[in-house]
Amino acid sequence: MTSESLAHLSNNLLYSAMAVYTGAMYCYAAELAFAPRVRAGRVLATVGATASPSVDPAVSGDAPPTPADAESREQARLERSNRLGRIAVALTGLAFLLHFGAVVARGVSAGRPPWGNMFEFSTTGALAVTGAFLVLLARRDNRMPVRYLGLFVIGPVLLTLGLAVSVLYVNSEQLVPALKSVWLVIHVTAAMIAAGILTIGFAQTICFLVQDRMERTGGGPAFMSHFPSADAIDRAAYRMHAFAFPIWTFAVIAGAIWAENAWGRYWGWDPKETWAFITWLVYACYLHARATAGWRGRKAAYLALLGYSTFLFNYLVVNIFLVGLHSYAGVG
């Protein structure tokens, strides 16, 4: 296969992946939309639990008595909702394979790691997000459900891919000399993995803030009653951030080693470096805030959101609008 036909294949695979992602996103949305409301006092399976649990009357013993037909209608709704969720996960897996194929074909076509410009970084970075999400889904740990996050993870993935194919697209070509280094693999892979995990942490943080509000004010949409408790989401989000932070730290250190090798200084306050540092500081603030009385919970969550927005700033604004040594976007 020639380089051009491989690049063409990569694009086709990417468009197919986007179509399947769209289907998955609709299924995640429908799963939430069709889920019946959980009444107070009811012990119920959480949406997103891998197994298909039944609402056992014995377990929900302290629930107010309901007519049997209403009970079974609700049961049917829950079954349907769960089925949609399982379809969504299957579609996510399929989309991941297509997406993975697209990234590999792109890399083979160019004969180098497929993240030499912003289009490629975006597609591979989005792959890292889906990959991280699938790893969480595959853990099959029923005590830490993640499927409820599907809409909030696949949505941004699709958005990133849409941005990549419409605005950022460039043809598959060789690298500029500055990127020809083994550190391109080490530094950028670490940055993308960290970004993938941080994206899931971001989705969890949003869910935490909404759930926290629901719990304080009561009410809210029916699907929120299927999310884990605010406290559980908060702890899961913390673990996600705590896992991503050392990877991000490693990415920054690897970047410094590369910078020393390419430009003769390991740190030069180039805009990209500065914003990677800012992101690091804000997430460090988040981790410290979790351990500080009066900052736990919502305030810490806002710091996590701020941390993610500094990452987005670095990815979008610094790459495209600020002049620096890291101007490899190939855009404009």
């Binding site: 006092g41 012990v43 119920l44 399976a45 197994a51 649990p53 377990v59 029923n142 830490m144 459900p145 043809n171 070509e173 500029v176 000399p177 020809k180 280094s181 550190w183 719990e215 009653s225 884990p228 408790s229 605010a230 559980a232 702890r235 913390y238 705590a242 932070f245 050392p246 730290t249 250190i253 410094a256 590369w258 020393e260 090798n261 390419a262 430009w263 003769g264 200084r265 390991y266 740190w267 030069g268 306050w269 180039d270 500065t274 914003w275 800012i278 500081l281 804000v282 460090a284 603030c285 981790l287 410290h288 805030a289 351990a291 500080t292 610094v318 600020l322 002049v323 620096g324 190939g330």
Partner: protein, 561 residues
Amino acid sequence: MVDAATQNLSTAPVEGGPPGSPRAMRPVEFARWSWRQLTSMRTALALLFLLAVASVPGSLVPQEGVDPVRVAQFKAAHPGLTPWYERLSLFHVFSAPWFAAIYLLLFISLVGCVVPRSRLHWSAMRARPPAAPRNLVRLPVHTSWSAEVGSADLLDSAVRELRRRHYRVDRAADSIGAERGFLRETGNLLFHTALIGLLVAVAIGNLFGYKGSVLVVEGEGFSNSLSVYDSFAHGARFSESHMPPFTIDLKKMTVRYQPSGDQRGAPRDFQAHLSYTSDPSAKPRSFDLQVNHPLVIAGTKVFLIGNGYAPVFTVRDSTGKAVFSGPVPFLPRDANNTSIGVVKASGARPKQLGFEGLFLPTAAIDPQLGPISTYPALIVPRAVLNAYVGDLGLDSGVPQSVYRLDTNKMTQVRNAAGKPLAQVLAPGEALKLPDGQGSIRFDGVRRFATLQVAHDPGKSPALVSALLALVGLMLSLFVKRRRVWVRAVDDGGGRTVVEVAGLARTEGEDRDRLADEVTALARSLGAPEQAPASEQVPATEQVRATEQPETGKPAADETED
């Protein structure tokens, strides 16, 4: 500074003063109060956040240390803002006093936190694990059963099992206290200490290091000394005697660009073919210098950071004598190497001659922009020059840029129509000035390479510190701190009542994972299969926290027989 469990160690101030009438603090009290304020977690958090905020202008405003050309452009474009920006050190944020104030306070706060915590951690590591609380079933994760084994034997095997799980174990008469996860705090302290090391390493680099850039035309070379550098920056404790006496000659500079497609003209390969000696008496060796592939000579690194064209000119004055001949580096202005430069012929008589203009590797005439280059490599090389006669101003004593013509005491040469004389020259062509004032011939083109020579004695300590910080960080985030207690008491009827309980002491730790550990421990001690190690409902079902807040209240509805 991460661990919630050690909050009680915090030196944070107690809110509100002692009751009674307020009075002024004595200096010692004030100093102590300030120190407590500074080393509190809250202050550290604020300083950390402030450091992030303070870095933002450094990425948005052009920085002297990063891109001096853009700083000059910014100053020219914003004359009103410039004095304010200068007053606020916004053109060199990262060496500004206010930026230094933030990070120095942060590091003082760090030291004030790390030192007492290291002491506490040291004694905590040598202390015995806490004795079992009286009522183990009150703990959030617990299990109990009745066993046939004697209590002493059971506790013996519990000690073995806990040791196998890397617990530090302390055995009392009828119970065991065990603790693990000290590496968490060790890692935490290592991380923060390594950050201090990193700061010191950066300071060493700034004090003793140097960095210079030098432009070398093909066929020429230089020997490492202060005078050869076009720009040179060094630390306060740098001395020229530290510079190794190497020499470098640029044999040839090869470049390759993307020839077609939507990335036409994008750089693909730059190589500077060098011949170098580590000291003037040594035998020359050759090296192909590339981006990402520096040359290391005696602990000093040489990098290829740029390249461009040096057109070769011959200038003759009114007498017909060649008063200048040689390559003149023209600096690239855009991605297609539209380059600008000047030629100065100070030996020309009766008046000095100066030329300024463009070099275009692939020349084209743009209707709006005039002459520009449309591709970075040499396809249609052309030089476009204006001519000046008069005094170049080289004798005024004021240092002058070799890339700029001071035209104060010069007049521009005009053609018969009275327009400024300008001519597009192909290689071999010459621009003749009217009235026999002289001429300039465009002989050909050579390339130049811009090399950066850098020496930073702080870089290895910085790398070691950064890696230690990373190790410490991972330990402090991933090691789980747990306490486990086992109690075994004879019930008087020939059986032993065993209680096992655990306590998570880690921020964000899932109690379920602790429950797994307690369950596994209980099983290994012979607990029956049914004994659940927590008040949690079975795994697939979850109790909403609003309905049953996790207060650690003992489970009353669980049967534990």
